[in-house]
């Protein structure tokens, strides 16, 4: 078998192990279905063949998930060995069948409520009086602010835009235009349908960059684009979708913080890696 075919087979095996471990972590599969020795054998067998960072990453991910599954096995054994372990079905049955009075009666055998007292002391009274003496009257603490009186009037949309209360475009239009810009930029400068995050967000001024990063976050949240993160290379790509993905907002989302600091912006301007 050629080295490439073997690597492909190895990748598939690791992928299957990861899927199995994820199912165990989600409590969908019994943790003891996993033969740890066998898996370690597979991981050991293919490890010397991994050269690419993605493969090493896959290897590390397999070990990570395997460790989580072993932890679950150990927790299961620990729980079973404690005196508190009882068959949950049996217990549930007992709970459902027990009457209120029985339940209260047996709870009282195991319940030892905490004793606590609340009482004011001479010391706390003296302390409170000292506080009261030094407390300024409300009229002195909450002095009225001399707010200038302004006549009620009307403002036009242009005036609100000038005051920066409103943007000059409807936000959804602005987002749509920005999405088109992303698609064009990917065609021009990107590869594999994606572009480096900073190459898209970066602009002449820092203010503009921050504004673009702000809009980009909405592109991702609203399903117009997605982020692709390569942790080993420390690279973040942005990838536009051909049509917005509506189900994104219904799935559980994760937040990815990206620091758009002045220093990072300067580094990008100088062409230094982030």
């Amino acid at each position: 078998m050629s080295s490439k075919t073997e690597q492909k087979l190895g990748r598939e095996k690791l992928q299957r192990i990861i899927e199995m471990c994820i199912a165990i972590e989600a409590h969908a599969v019994d943790p003891f279905m996993l033969d740890v020795d066998d898996i370690i054998k597979v991981v050991k067998e293919y490890f010397p063949r991994w050269e690419k960072p993605e493969d090493l990453n896959l290897d590390a991910e397999t070990i990570h998930h395997l460790a989580s599954s072993i932890k679950l096995q150990s927790e299961w054994i620990k729980h079973r060995s404690t005196s508190l372990y009882t068959d949950p079905f049996l217990l549930e049955e007992k709970i459902t069948q027990a009457g209120k009075e029985v339940m209260v009666g047996l709870f009282l055998k195991a319940w030892h409520p905490v004793v606590e007292l609340e009482q004011i002391s001479i010391h706390s009274l003296a302390e409170a009086m000292r506080y009261w003496e030094t407390l300024l009257p409300l009229r002195e603490r909450w002095k009225e602010l001399a707010a200038p009186k302004v006549e009620i009037g009307t403002a036009t949309r242009d005036e609100l835009i000038r005051e920066r209360i409103l943007g000059d475009k409807v936000f959804s239009d602005e987002l749509e235009n920005y999405w088109q810009e992303l698609k064009e930029k990917v065609k021009e400068k990107g590869h594999d349908g994606k572009i480096l995050y900073w190459d898209f967000v970066g602009a002449e001024t820092y203010e503009e960059t921050a504004q673009r990063a702000f809009l980009t976050s909405f592109l991702i949240t609203y399903g117009y684009a997605t982020l692709e993160i390569h942790p080993l290379e420390e690279e973040i790509f942005i990838k536009p979708f051909e049509t917005p993905i509506a189900k994104i907002s219904t799935q559980q989302s994760i937040s990815i913080p990206i620091a758009v600091t002045h220093d990072n912006w300067q580094k990008w301007k100088r062409g230094e890696p982030d």
Binding site: K94, K100, V102, P113
Partner: protein, 209 residues
């Protein structure tokens, strides 16, 4: 009285003040607070106090951090991280529970919730617990009761609506005894409509929620 005895008597008084009167939002005192106030021999002071409280049917209860109850004699470091409470040593009678503001339904609901969470390895979804309580309590009460158990510190709820046992259950409930007695108890069926008896109405006035 010898000087040594006098020292312990005064330390015991100090420990009593600290343990009986609530100092923080939650009752109880952390080991390190007792260590600071009474000195490194505070476990001995607590032993003497516990012995003294026996005649009053009270006890000094130690709750170790994250349920790491040591198998052997705990080290001072472990005790410093533990929390100490004064709890009832013996048992309350059903009449007494009404006096302290618990209706029979509420207490039975609490017992069921705690036992069920224990049976599920310390974690159960609120929905499951609600369904279980719904069998014997009126629907409108179930949610209110669970909120009350959470507010009192018996249960804890996370953002995913999963329920866990909280600090008060760890301090007050002998979980092993609860499960053992439940498993050995004679089963007795109760109809859901059996809720509004005269006694529970009466207790309603006493309940402050």
């Amino acid at each position: 009285m010898s000087r040594r005895k006098g020292v312990y008597a005064s330390k015991m008084k100090r420990a009593t003040h600290m343990l009986f009167y609530r100092r923080h939002q939650k009752p109880g005192v952390k080991g390190w607070e007792l260590h600071k106030a009474l000195g490194a021999d505070y476990p001995k002071v607590l032993d003497i106090l516990d012995d003294y409280l026996k005649s009053l049917d009270l006890q000094v209860k130690t709750v170790f951090e994250e349920e790491k109850t040591p198998v052997e004699k705990p080290a001072l470091e472990e005790l410093d991280k533990a929390r100490f409470y004064v709890t009832l040593r013996g048992e309350l009678t059903p009449k007494e529970t009404k006096m302290i503001g618990w209706r029979i339904d509420d207490l039975a609901g609490l017992a069921i919730a705690i036992a069920y969470i224990i049976s599920k390895k310390g974690q159960a979804s609120r929905k499951e617990v609600e369904e279980l309580l719904n069998e014997k309590l009126p629907g409108w009460k179930v949610g209110l009761n669970i909120d009350r158990y959470i507010r009192y510190g018996y249960l804890l709820q996370d953002d995913n609506a999963q329920l866990y046992l909280d600090w008060r259950t760890r301090a007050e409930v002998d979980r092993k005894a609860l499960i053992d007695t439940l498993l050995t108890a004679e089963t007795q069926k109760t109809a859901p409509s059996e809720v509004t008896d005269e006694e529970s109405k009466e207790a309603d006035y006493k309940s402050n929620d």
